[in-house]
Symmetry: C2
DNA sequence: CACACTGTGGAAAGCGATTGCCATGCTCAA
DNA sequence: TTGAGCATGGCAATCGCTTTCCACAGTGTG
């Protein structure tokens, strides 16, 4: 309000032919300049500091005028003039999923530390949509485009996405992916395979012999990698294939629930531990077991992956693998900003043994090994 | 330099389809125009379709050229030229918190439906930071600014925030808040008080007589409203004040844990039900009880608020009040877009009775009453 | 056959900034 | 006293795009 008043005072410069303009117009740098009785250029230099000096008396007048008028530079105009923006564009599969929101939090942190604003868009787990978003985002000329989402095998779309990103990079853009390695761009990747492998070894050492492995669709690389890593760990520990039952289902809580029901129906058949490739699925499994009259942990052990925050609050507390998603996010920004061409950074995971696998010593967490 | 070359020489025929262009310059509308052998103005009109017609033959040539060159309009330039952007700016307190990410999801949905892009920033629960963000965001001239976060009482900053938003609206911006009513802007508000009140009545009817109420700092309006609503409901059901114990703590899981420990230490003293003002706190309470050798639900009932997704997976399943956050998000966008000046929309909540309050009939959910 | 009219293309004026370049005034050394 | 050198202000070009305004051609009417 006071800002508007003072602007009409400065009505020396009629920006509009209308005297009483009902039209809401925001304060421009020109307004600040006239108010401070300097030129546009000087006002700009006073505000941006640059290497170029401005006599301190003038600078003060400009700063004062800007404050008085409530001036905020027009980011779009700055962007066109400078040819670059101060934003990082983030594409996630689903905000409501804690997995992605943790990543988003990490990215936001890192972006802020670099004076960048984050713009987030949601691809809704569709590679097609992801592609469209990237195309549109290119129009905003962000400093960085980060795409967070498990690769989903889909040849044609993937090729188009690569094209689009390559074009973006060709025009000076920076990118980072948070997903599985394989695309020709800097990638931050969670070491799913190794995490699952370590978990499997730990469980085998603890004496579990017969396993059920509940995983999602093979198209989802995250699921596949964890599944393979787990079986690799079992094999390395001398557990035979005939002691492993696989069930494929949805990559969701109810997927886990259903799979566990199926397992119970056809008789547990000596299965001692159920590994679900995500905590949400594992929690579905536990609820299903309980609904079937079995006590998770006592009657059959359960383990998951992700270490979501509720893993510690379910009963029994869930044995799982921690994935430092927030760090993955900050790392992605760092990677994009560095000139390290097409590097892949592996984020190490940590196994947490808890009450849901009572035979194993609920040890202090041990990282799954050095990252490569 | 080479870019300039290729552009000027492109007057002849198609641009060199050289794959190895050393100079990174992105395709501009001018490039498309020359490629299509029409003027800049015509190219713009062909792409944007406006009311102004372009002969179909020319339009086709422009469209083809744009596709061939992989042209993406520069959003910043469009924004400066048109004076407005196609974005909604969202300020949340914390992305990683499911409460806010659910809201963010709703906003993203609604924004997308209106052809808007969402840019999200994180205020980190600091009113000061929130203010700074809004100030910076104004520079991006978004269509809408949505602020999602419980009001925190803090006189000076709040006044500045009001100023800032008022200035934004004065220049044609649209706003919506998702928080408690009280600020002179369109507001979407979760009916916390009524939800808590209904919960209290339901519990009182079920026969619970002695209560502990665990809440967060009074500065946090969400906490305060739920607390007050609950006691109002108790009072209305004839429960006396001497049958209510209050504990104030952090608005977090560990706050809930600590409070419950304190409660246990000083003797439960006949308390039959513990109400925590958020589910995360309630889950902390349950874990604390169990750690103290008590069985939640059997030894003492527990209820929370929010209906976060894990509320159904803890044991016993948590009685709570569902808050349709996603809807709150979409509603906020609708509200901002409508010309409904300073309206307040109340989002109704729903009580879910579950096993953590075994005396109450685990009924089909009933909404907490019509919204105003 | 002249005349408004309409449909369409292009030149050019913005939008709100940044920045290269030149002009100016001042200081300081010769 | 004079000219070199430096600090600083301002004009104007520029970024990529939209949109107004004008010109011009083709049409149907009087």
């Amino acid at each position: 309000m006071s800002a508007l008043d003072s602007r009409s005072e400065s009505g020396a410069t009629p920006r509009r032919t209308r005297v009483t303009d009902p039209e809401p117009v925001s304060v421009t740098l020109q307004d600040v300049a006239t108010e401070a009785r300097v030129s546009l250029a000087t006002a700009s230099r006073a505000l941006n500091g640059g290497s170029r000096g401005v006599r301190s008396e003038n600078r003060d007048r400009v700063l004062a005028a800007a404050a008085r008028l409530g001036y905020v530079p027009n980011a779009s105009a700055q962007a066109t003039a400078k040819g670059s923006t101060q934003t990082v564009a983030l594409v996630v599969s689903d905000v409501a999923d804690p997995y992605y929101s943790a990543i988003a939090a990490g990215i936001t942190d890192a972006a802020e530390a670099n004076g960048l604003v984050v713009t987030m868009t949601v691809a809704d787990r569709s590679p097609r949509r992801e592609l469209e978003l990237v195309r549109g985002l290119r129009g905003h000329r962000p400093q960085i485009i980060v795409i967070a989402g498990s690769r989903i095998d889909d040849g044609a779309t993937e090729r188009e996405l690569i094209d689009e990103l390559a074009q973006y990079r060709a025009t000076g853009g920076r990118t980072a992916l948070i997903s599985q390695p394989g695309l020709p761009f800097p990638t931050v990747t969670v070491d799913n395979a190794r995490g699952a492998e370590t978990l499997a070894r730990t469980m085998a050492e603890a004496g579990y012999r017969r396993y059920a492995i509940i995983c999602g669709p093979n198209r989802i690389r995250t699921s596949l990698d964890r599944c393979r890593g787990f079986t690799a760990g079992l094999r390395a520990s001398g557990i035979e294939a005939e002691d492993q039952v696989f069930i494929q289902t949805q990559f969701t809580r109810s997927g886990g629930y259903d799979a566990a029901c199926e397992l119970v129906e056809r008789g547990l058949d000596g299965i001692e531990l159920i590994f679900a490739v995500s905590d949400t699925m594992a929690i579905g499994v536990m609820t299903a077991l309980r609904d079937a009259g079995l006590e998770p942990g006592r009657d059959v052990a359960v383990a998951g992956f992700d270490d979501i925050s509720s893993a510690i609050d379910v009963v029994p507390a869930l044995t799982t693998v921690e994935v430092p998603l927030r760090e993955a996010g900050t790392e992605a920004v760092r990677l994009a900003l560095s000139d390290d061409e097409n590097r892949t950074v592996r984020i190490p995971t940590t196994v947490h043994v808890r009450a849901s696998t009572p035979r194993a010593p609920t040890s202090s967490p041990a990282p799954t090994g050095p990252s490569t």
